[in-house]
C-alpha cells in the first residue's frame, strides 16, 4: 500500500486555562490516503476542531501548545517546519474551510480579490490573470453569473454563496488536502446539501483528500469514506463508514446512534439518551473518559486508560468492554 498522504501520530495539544492545563487533543493518530474523505465526529469539546487546527499549526500560543506528536504530510513532518515552511503549505497544499464564512472573509475586499489572493501569493500568478482564474473557480462552485460577482463584496452574498466562495478559495491552489470544519452547520438543510455536494464532487474531480469535521452523523454517512469518533480529546473508535454504522463497537458510538432520531427510525421507540453530562476537560477521570456515562463500564475502565486496538479490518476501538451484538 502506498504511503498515506497524511499520517498523524500521537498528536497532543494542550491549553493553559484558568482551571489548569487542559488536554484538548490527547494522543490522536490517524491516516488519510490520497482522494479519501475522513470524517471526524464528536460533540463540542471533543477536540475535533483543535485536531484540525493543529494539523495546520493554527493553535494560538499562548495559551495553546502542540505538546507532542508528528504530522507527516507527504512524508514531511509539519511540526518541524519553520514559519515560512508552514506558510507555503497552508492555503496552498492544505486548504481550510471554516464554519462561519462571514468571519473568514474580509468585508472590505471584493470577492474576486480574495479568491485571487492565494493564487497570486502562492503561485506567483500576476493579479490580472489570478482574477481571471478566480472567475473560473466561482463558476466551478456554481455561483451564477460568476464573472460579474467578482467585483462584489461579501455582504452581497448569501450564506450558502459565501460558503461556495470559501470552497473556491480552498481549491484555488489545487490543494492535496482540504480540511472543512463544520462547513455547513450555519446553513439551512437544502443549502447544506448543495454545498456539500459541490465540495464532494470537486474533491473527487481533483483527487484531493478531505477531512470533514462535523457533529452530524447523517452528513458523515452521506459523504465520508471513513470515520474517527472523538470523545474528550481522544479518538475512541475509527473505521470505514459502512463498518462504523453497521457494527459500531464503542459504547459511546453506539450511544450516539441510539440517541439521535433518524428520518427512518421507528417513532414508537423511545430515544435512548446517553446518561450524564458532557465531560469536563479540566477534570477528566483517570481511566476511560467515557466511563462515568457508560452503562457497561467496569472496574478496569475507571482505573486504566484504554488505547485504540483493532476489532476488525481497519476498525479500531479504545474500550475494554467486549460488545456483543
Amino acid at each position: 500500500m502506498a504511503t498515506p498522504l497524511l499520517q498523524v501520530r500521537d498528536l497532543t495539544t494542550r491549553f493553559r486555562t484558568d482551571r489548569g492545563v487542559v488536554t484538548a487533543v490527547d494522543r490522536v493518530s490517524c491516516d488519510l490516503a490520497g482522494g479519501e474523505t475522513l470524517a471526524i465526529v464528536g460533540e463540542s469539546g471533543s477536540g475535533k476542531s483543535v485536531t484540525a487546527l493543529s494539523i495546520l499549526r493554527l493553535i494560538p500560543n499562548p495559551p495553546g501548545e502542540i505538546a507532542s506528536g508528528e504530522i507527516l504530510f507527504d512524508g514531511k513532518d509539519l511540526l518541524r517546519l519553520d514559519d515560512a515552511g508552514i506558510r507555503s503549505i497552508r492555503g496552498n497544499r492544505i486548504a481550510m474551510i471554516f464554519q462561519e464564512p462571514m468571519s473568514s472573509l474580509n468585508p472590505a475586499l471584493t470577492i474576486g480579490r480574495q479568491v485571487a489572493e492565494p493564487i497570486n501569493q502562492h503561485q506567483r500568478v500576476p493579479w490580472k490573470q489570478a482574477e481571471e482564474m478566480a472567475g473560473e473557480l466561482l463558476a466551478r462552485v456554481r455561483i451564477p453569473d460568476a464573472r460579474r460577482r467578482l467585483s462584489q463584496y461579501p455582504h452581497q452574498f448569501s450564506g450558502g454563496m459565501r460558503q461556495r466562495v470559501m470552497i473556491a478559495m480552498a481549491l484555488a491552489c489545487k490543494p492535496r488536502l482540504i480540511i472543512a470544519d463544520e462547513p455547513t452547520t450555519a446553513l439551512d438543510v437544502t443549502v447544506q446539501a448543495q454545498v456539500l455536494d459541490i465540495l464532494k464532487e470537486l474533491t473527487r474531480e481533483t483527487g484531493a483528500s478531505l477531512i470533514l469535521i462535523t457533529h452530524d452523523l447523517g452528513v458523515v454517512a452521506r459523504y465520508a469514506d471513513k470515520v474517527a469518533v472523538m470523545y474528550a480529546g481522544r479518538i475512541v473508535e475509527s473505521a470505514p463508514s459502512r463498518t462504523l454504522y453497521g457494527r459500531p463497537a464503542h459504547p459511546y458510538t453506539r450511544g450516539l446512534m441510539a440517541s439521535v432520531p433518524r428520518l427512518d427510525s421507528d417513532t414508537s421507540q423511545r430515544l435512548v439518551p446517553i446518561d450524564g453530562q458532557p465531560p469536563d476537560l479540566s477534570s477528566l477521570p483517570e481511566g476511560c473518559s467515557f466511563a462515568p456515562r457508560c452503562s457497561l463500564a467496569f472496574e478496569r475502565c475507571r482505573r486504566e486508560r484504554p488505547v485504540l486496538e483493532p476489532v476488525g479490518p481497519d476498525h479500531l476501538k479504545a474500550c475494554f468492554v467486549d460488545v456483543i451484538d
Binding site: 450564506g159 454517512a221 433518524r262 423511545r270 446517553i274
Partner: protein, 353 residues
C-alpha cells in the same frame, strides 16, 4: 401610497374543518386563522415613510387538539418562530385571529393577557441566553409565580420550586445554584421548569434542543414527551431538525416564506410528502446510515430562500421548484384540503371536486 394596501390579499387558507369559534369542538385548544405578521420597512432620512413590509408570516392557519404536538418546520426565515411568538402575543398580528380554548385572544389588552399567559408558556432555544445569570435557580423558577401573584408563603414557594425541579429531573439542592454552574442540558431543564411553574396547558417550544449537544438532545426530547403525557400538555414544537420533529410530533406543518405549504399527520408527511418543497427538504436531510444513504433518491433544489420583503409572485416556491409549471409563476396556490388530515398548497395537488 403604501405598498401594503396595493398588495393582493392572499386567499384565506381553508384548512379548518372544525366548528366556528363560538363553539370550539371539544378537544381543540388552539386555532390560528389567517395569521399574518408583517414588519414595516421604513425609508427616508428626515421624513420616515413606510416603503414596504417584511411579511414574516403571511396567512397561516392551523389548529391544535388538546394533548397534541404540532411540529412547525422550515428553514430560516420561513416564519416558524414568528408564528410561535405571535401565538403568545409577544408580537402583534397584522392580520388574522388566534383562538385559545375557543376564546379570541388576538386583541387582549395587558390585563387579559395575564390570564392567557398563565396557560400558554414558551420554552426557548438558547439555555445560555434565556436564564438570568445573576439569579439563583430558585428565583428563576419562582419569578413567574411572583409576577402572577401566586407566590404564597415562603415555605409553599420553596416546596413548589423543589417540586418543579423534581418534575424536570433535577435535584432540590440545585435550587441554590446559579445558571453558569449547569451544563446546557441541565439549563434547558431549568428553562422548562420555569415554563411549567404556572401550570400552563400549552407550551410553545422554539427550537428547544437545537443548541444542545447531540448526546443530550435525547434527554430533553424524552423529558418533553414524558411531561406531555403526565401533565396533558399541548405543544407547538418549532424546529428545523426534521428527524427530531418527526419523533415528537403528531402532525407537522411545513412552512416556506411565511406560509404553510403542507400540513399532515406525521406518518403521511414523511412517508409520502406531496409538496415539492417538503420533498426537497426531506431529501436534503442525510440519514445516518451509509447503506440506506447510497440508495435514497436525491432531489436537490437549486438556489436559496428568496427575501420575505419581496416574495416571488404566484407560488412562493416556484423560483426553486423542479416541477414548476407556467401557472405557478402567476397564481398563488391556496392551502387546499385533500382529506380530513392533510392539506397542500400546490397546483399539482388541487382540492378534490
Amino acid at each position: 401610497m403604501s405598498l401594503i394596501e396595493t398588495m393582493p390579499r392572499p386567499a384565506a387558507a381553508a384548512i379548518d374543518h372544525e366548528a366556528p369559534p363560538a363553539d370550539p369542538p371539544s378537544g381543540q385548544i388552539l386555532r390560528v386563522e389567517d395569521l399574518a405578521v408583517h414588519f414595516p420597512v421604513l425609508s427616508g432620512a428626515f421624513i420616515r415613510r413606510q416603503v414596504g413590509a417584511v411579511k414574516a408570516v403571511d396567512g397561516v392557519s392551523f389548529s391544535l387538539r388538546r394533548g397534541e404536538t404540532l411540529g412547525l418546520v422550515g428553514e430560516s426565515g420561513c416564519g416558524k418562530s414568528t408564528t410561535g411568538l405571535a401565538i403568545l402575543r409577544m408580537l402583534d398580528a397584522t392580520r388574522g385571529r388566534i383562538f385559545f380554548e375557543g376564546e379570541d385572544v388576538t386583541h387582549h389588552d395587558r390585563s387579559r393577557l395575564r390570564g392567557f399567559r398563565r396557560n400558554v408558556q414558551m420554552v426557548y432555544q438558547d439555555p445560555y441566553g434565556s436564564l438570568n445569570p445573576r439569579m439563583k435557580v430558585r428565583d428563576i423558577i419562582a419569578e413567574p409565580l411572583e409576577v402572577h401573584g401566586l407566590a404564597g408563603s415562603a415555605a409553599e414557594m420553596r416546596e413548589r420550586v423543589e417540586r418543579m425541579l423534581a418534575t424536570v429531573g433535577l435535584l432540590p439542592y440545585m435550587a441554590d445554584r446559579y445558571p453558569h454552574e449547569f451544563s446546557g442540558g441541565q439549563r434547558q431543564r431549568i428553562g422548562i421548569a420555569r415554563s411549567l411553574a404556572l401550570e400552563p396547558r400549552l407550551l410553545i417550544c422554539d427550537e428547544p434542543v437545537s443548541a444542545l449537544d447531540v448526546s443530550i438532545q435525547a434527554q430533553v426530547v424524552n423529558l418533553l414527551m414524558d411531561l406531555q403525557h403526565r401533565l396533558g400538555l399541548s405543544y407547538v414544537f418549532v424546529a428545523h431538525d426534521l428527524a427530531v420533529v418527526r419523533h415528537i410530533s403528531d402532525r407537522i406543518a411545513v412552512m416556506y416564506l411565511g406560509r404553510i405549504v403542507e400540513i399532515a399527520g406525521r406518518d403521511d408527511l414523511y412517508r409520502e410528502p406531496l409538496h415539492p418543497y417538503t420533498q426537497a427538504l426531506l431529501s436534503a436531510v442525510p440519514v445516518a446510515d451509509p447503506v440506506a444513504e447510497a440508495e435514497r433518491p436525491r432531489m436537490v433544489v437549486s438556489g436559496e430562500v428568496p427575501s420575505a420583503f419581496n416574495p416571488p409572485p404566484g407560488c412562493r416556491f416556484h423560483t426553486r421548484c423542479p416541477v414548476a409549471m407556467p401557472i405557478c409563476r402567476e397564481v398563488d396556490p391556496p392551502l387546499a384540503p385533500l382529506d380530513d388530515t392533510r392539506s397542500v398548497a400546490c397546483h399539482l395537488h388541487p382540492a378534490p371536486g
